[in-house]
């Protein structure tokens, strides 16, 4: 060994020695399994992954080139305990030795399990599994799309259940391999294809039971994303009750088995028919009842109308009677009044000036006549008496006395006939009436004693 070493030239370049170290290391550590914890993880755009594997005392640089990184079932992350398989080499530009990783397995859990958890976490962060995204299944789809294998028990179960529950439903099956390489891609493509068919209203995606590796395709991101973006609600039905895949999380409804999925997507036709029948029966019954009620109401109203009409007629009759009575009474009263009025008028006319005038007009000529007769008779009598009187008068007339020489003395002042001298004073004017003519004399002397 030392001899060999001594055979080396004494003066080496850095590159020489680095290459020598590299060769030496690569020879010694061609295929090692190393257990450690991932740290300082870097994932540049080149696709290579750089990290440090460490344990409590040491660190080892590691690299996983792009081709290996793509094959990784899970994502590397800080702190992850892994078992790395590879060879030790030297990165000559830096003179650093490192582990070139061929494959990585998570320590403890299986790679599948870890990948499952990691993808679940990532898609969950994205909101793909949110309850709010879940859509209600259509109550009664006409066409159900199924993505599964044609050869499995799943399709048989699904067809049987659909036929039994709802024989009229249409089924559109997109046959896919449900396990093996490329299964995930086929399933995702089939989901997209069925989702794009306008007649499909709900999808069942699944397969029958199998080993958990066999269900792997339903954990693939492509499948999960295809389920999440499906136009129509998706029911997942993968394996048995205990098998849970990421497809189940993304689906709008998780069925424990394919049969359960079929039950979930279609109603029992008989129940629908029954419901429809019942609704139609209730509809008819309600309307029958309603019409009957309305008819009764109508008839009641009609009766009321009849009653009212009868009452109106009665009232009209009474009114007629009253009017007749009234008219009769009025007429009678009018007649009475008229008669009384005529009578009174007669009375009045009889009492009035007209009749008196009438009578008077008759009386006046009679009276006139009588008056004339009376007058005439009176006049004759008077005339005779006047003549007699005049003769007597003539005999008694002072004038006749005067003829015989007597005279009559009167005061001028008051015409008094003087019988005594003392009736006048001296100086008074007296008138002396003679048989012919008169004298006015002044009293010169009054001699009260007679003869002398």
């Amino acid at each position: 060994m030392t001899g060999h070493n001594l055979a080396l030239p004494l003066l080496l370049s850095v590159s020489d020695v680095t290459r020598l170290i590299r060769n030496s290391l690569e020879d010694q550590f061609q295929d090692v399994w190393i257990e450690g914890e991932i740290s300082n993880l870097r994932a540049p755009s080149s696709g290579h992954l750089y990290f440090t594997l460490k344990d409590s005392q040491s660190q080892l640089r590691g690299v996983l080139f792009r081709s290996g990184a793509l094959r990784l079932r899970f994502a590397l992350q800080e702190g992850l305990a892994v078992i790395a398989r590879g060879r030790i080499s030297v990165y000559e530009p830096r003179g650093e030795y490192q582990l070139i990783v061929d494959s990585l397995e998570p320590k403890g859990v299986g790679a599948f399990q870890l990948a499952f958890e990691q993808l679940k976490e990532r898609l969950s962060q994205e909101g793909l599994f949110d309850e709010a995204r879940k859509r209600r299944l259509p109550a009664f789809p006409r066409t159900v799309g199924v993505v599964t294998s044609l050869t499995g028990a799943a399709i048989r179960d699904i067809v049987a259940v659909l036929r039994r529950r709802c024989p009229i439903v249409n089924l559109l099956i997109a046959p896919v391999p449900v396990q093996g390489d490329g299964a995930g891609a086929s399933i995702a493509e089939a989901i997209d294809a069925l989702s794009a068919m306008p007649q499909v209203e709900v999808l069942i995606v699944g397969r029958g039971g199998g080993a958990s590796e066999d269900l792997w395709a339903f954990n693939e991101e492509a499948v999960v994303r295809a389920i999440a973006r499906s136009r129509v609600p998706v029911v997942s039905a993968v394996g048995h009750e205990i098998d849970v895949t990421l497809s189940d999380f993304a689906a709008d409804h998780r069925a424990p088995t394919p049969s359960a999925a079929a039950e979930a997507v279609v109603p029992v036709l008989d129940e629908i028919m029954e419901r429809l029948d019942e609704l139609a029966r209730r509809l008819s019954r309600i309307v029958d009842t309603m019409l009957q009620m309305q008819r009764h109401r109508f008839e009641r109203s009609l009766n009321v109308l009849h009653e009212i009409r009868f009452r109106i007629q009665t009232e009209a009759q009474r009114l007629d009677e009253l009017r007749d009575g009234l008219t009769r009474i009025f007429t009678e009263q009018l007649t009475t009044l008229h008669r009384e009025m005529v009578e009174r008028r007669h009375l009045l006319l009889a009492q009035g000036p007209q009749s008196r005038i009438q009578r008077s007009l008759v009386l006046i000529p009679q009276l006139c006549k009588r008056l004339e007769q009376e007058a005439r008779r009176g006049l004759i009598g008077r005339r005779q008496s006047v003549a007699l009187q005049m003769a007597a008068l003539d005999a008694l007339s002072p004038l006749a006395i005067l003829q015989r020489g007597f005279s009559i003395v009167q005061t001028v002042s008051d015409g008094r006939v003087l019988r005594r001298a003392s009736d006048v004073a001296v100086g008074a004017s007296v008138q002396v009436r003679l048989a012919e003519g008169q004298l006015v004399c002044q009293v010169d002397k009054v001699m009260p004693s007679s003869i002398a």
């Binding site: 050869t151 067809v159 249409n170 559109l172 509809l283 309600i286």
Partner: protein
Amino acid sequence: MAAVKFEYAMARLETIVAELEKGDLPLDDSLKIFEEGIRLSKTCLKMLEDAERKVEILVQEKDGKKRIQAFSPGEDESENS
């Protein structure tokens, strides 16, 4: 499509029956929705009776195009088992 209409028709029918059973609609309106209800129930029934009962599969042709063809699960099963 048709199912949406069917669901709508059923839901509407339920509403109509409930509405009528409440009994506080005027007669005219009642009769109107009653007729609608009868029409709906007939439509629903017809939809059920007209159903095609098809089972088909979506197959991929060699040129990559997809085609729908009738499928009989019984036959297929026997071929494969």
